[in-house]
């Protein structure tokens, strides 16, 4: 088999793993504002933790490139917000602000997968033995990201299967980007810090501008603070060990 196909296959496995993040929500049926707030806080902690890890890695390749990437990431979310705000968006059963938040979440998490795909491809350039380890690591690391997406979609009425589907969709850029990155390692490792900066900037901004305000609006602040900070630490620990 052509090595590029192998890379694509491995990338596909990591994308599918994201769908597993929807599983814990099989048991959640209530759509109370409190459940939404709680899910938002957990998604916020997961995304902040993931961003901390990403930035720590990316600043080793170049701090300024990371900042440039992060700025572009923030501006992109602002533009996406404006565009979505102008239309009366519908998403499944949700409308208005809720639907907008769901769409933004999918856009942000999908965009952030591009740089992860590049990371997979570039690291495959390092050799095949390393590759299996990296694939397993990224696959497991994708599960909480699926959890974050499902945490935003599920309380607003998306089915568990729908959550899994959108989670996998958000990771599809991984196999797609892994192949060109694997074939052109040199070129892609140069853009990697920009890409990671973009991903981290977009995720942190999404947390600050959408997820936290809604969480504080519907739940007591010690509860939100506890959920965000404990999830953040758990995410850092989780990603550090895989």
């Amino acid at each position: 088999m052509h090595p590029a196909l192998v890379v694509f296959g491995y990338g596909l496995i990591t994308a599918l793993a994201t769908g597993l993040g929807a599983l814990p929500f099989a048991f959640l049926r209530s759509v109370s504002p409190k459940a939404v707030a709680c899910a938002n806080a957990i998604a916020a902690g997961l995304m902040l933790g993931a961003s901390f890890g990403l930035v720590a890695e990316s600043t080793q390749h170049g701090a300024w490139q990371t900042i440039v990437g992060a700025t572009v990431g923030v501006v992109s979310i602002l533009i996406a917000q404006r565009v979505l705000g102008r239309h009366d968006v519908e998403f499944g059963r949700a409308r208005g602000a809720g639907a907008q938040r769901m769409l933004l979440m999918i856009v942000v998490m999908t965009a952030h997968s591009f740089s992860e795909g590049v990371a997979v491809g570039v690291s495959f350039g390092g050799g095949a033995t390393l590759a299996v380890v990296i694939t397993a690591a990224i696959a497991v690391h994708n599960i909480p990201e699926g959890l974050a997406i499902s945490a935003v979609l599920r309380p607003r009425g998306t089915s568990v299967l729908g959550c899994a589907g959108w989670s996998i969709f958000s990771s599809l850029p991984q196999p797609l980007m892994a192949v060109p990155a694997f074939l052109l390692v040199e070129a892609f490792s140069a853009v990697l810090p920009y890409g990671i900066g973009f991903a981290a900037g977009a995720m942190v901004f999404m947390v600050l501008v959408e997820l936290l305000p809604e969480a504080y609006g519907h739940a007591r602040k010690p509860v939100v603070a506890l959920q965000v900070s404990l999830t953040l630490i758990a995410m850092v620990l989780f990603q550090q060990y895989l």
Partner: protein, 243 residues
């Protein structure tokens, strides 16, 4: 200079900068609520930046101990808020005249600074330049925090210079904890990962429970998100460039 004195010097400077927070009230009696929101977001961003820097230095140490320490730090601050019945307190009520409220705000501020003192002390153990960097970030972030405290105090009839003085006094716990943490971990270096984690957890919890919640209603979510992220980015960038 003896390293303990270095810690004392820089943490004292950090506590002292809180006096600058009273500065706006020399010219005007009160600040518009939007600016209080800005101050919250600035302080939140710099604290998140400082906890990020600490977290990154902790990643190449014992991560599990660090995570357990972080959980303890989070739970400790949560417990102090709950035990003192301040967990649901709105910390930005500028025209609240109830006497108890003033003392509650001072208590919350003092406990807040104590956690930041641990962060300075721990960072000084990692290396003196890193400690100076964290102390600098905390020092600058003390200014907007003190401005909010002074807005509440001057609104309650406290004179501007007394408000500035009280803001510094609320930060004395920062100096104390910085020196104690530094001395204790110098004597028992194996405690470093625990203490590092504790500081990270406590700082993140403080941002999420004290600074951000009220800010969104004060200045709107886009402004708050941009200011917080920018402040955080500057601290993280300085840390990344510095090493």
């Amino acid at each position: 200079m003896d390293p303990t004195l270095t810690v004392l010097l820089y943490s004292s400077l950090a506590a002292g900068t809180a006096a600058l927070g009273a500065f706006p009230f020399v010219f005007r009696e009160r600040l518009p609520i939007t600016q209080i929101g800005w101050a919250n977001a600035l302080a939140a961003g710099m604290m998140l930046g400082a906890s990020y820097s600490l977290l990154v230095t902790g990643l190449d140490r014992q991560v599990v101990r660090g995570a357990v320490g972080a959980a303890l730090g989070i739970l400790f601050v949560y417990w102090t808020h709950a035990a003192s019945k301040t967990e649901d307190l709105d910390l930005n009520r500028l025209d609240e005249s109830e006497p108890v409220y003033g003392y509650q705000v001072l208590l919350v501020n003092t406990l807040h600074s104590a956690a930041e003192g641990i962060a300075i002390g721990v960072a000084m153990i990692v290396s003196i330049p890193f400690g100076v960097f964290v102390a600098g970030a905390i020092a600058v972030h003390n200014i907007p925090e003190a401005t909010i405290l002074c807005a509440i105090l001057t609104g309650r009839g406290v004179r501007v210079r007394d408000a500035g003085g009280l803001a510094v006094a609320a930060n004395v716990s920062q100096v104390l904890l910085a020196v104690v943490t530094f001395t204790v971990i110098s004597a028992a270096p194996s405690m470093l990962p625990w203490a590092l984690g504790f500081a990270v957890g406590a700082l993140i919890y403080l941002v999420m429970s004290e600074l951000l919640p009220e800010s969104y209603q004060q200045a709107g979510s886009t402004t708050i998100a941009l200011v917080t992220l920018a402040a955080m980015g500057v601290v993280a960038l300085l840390q990344g460039v510095g090493g």
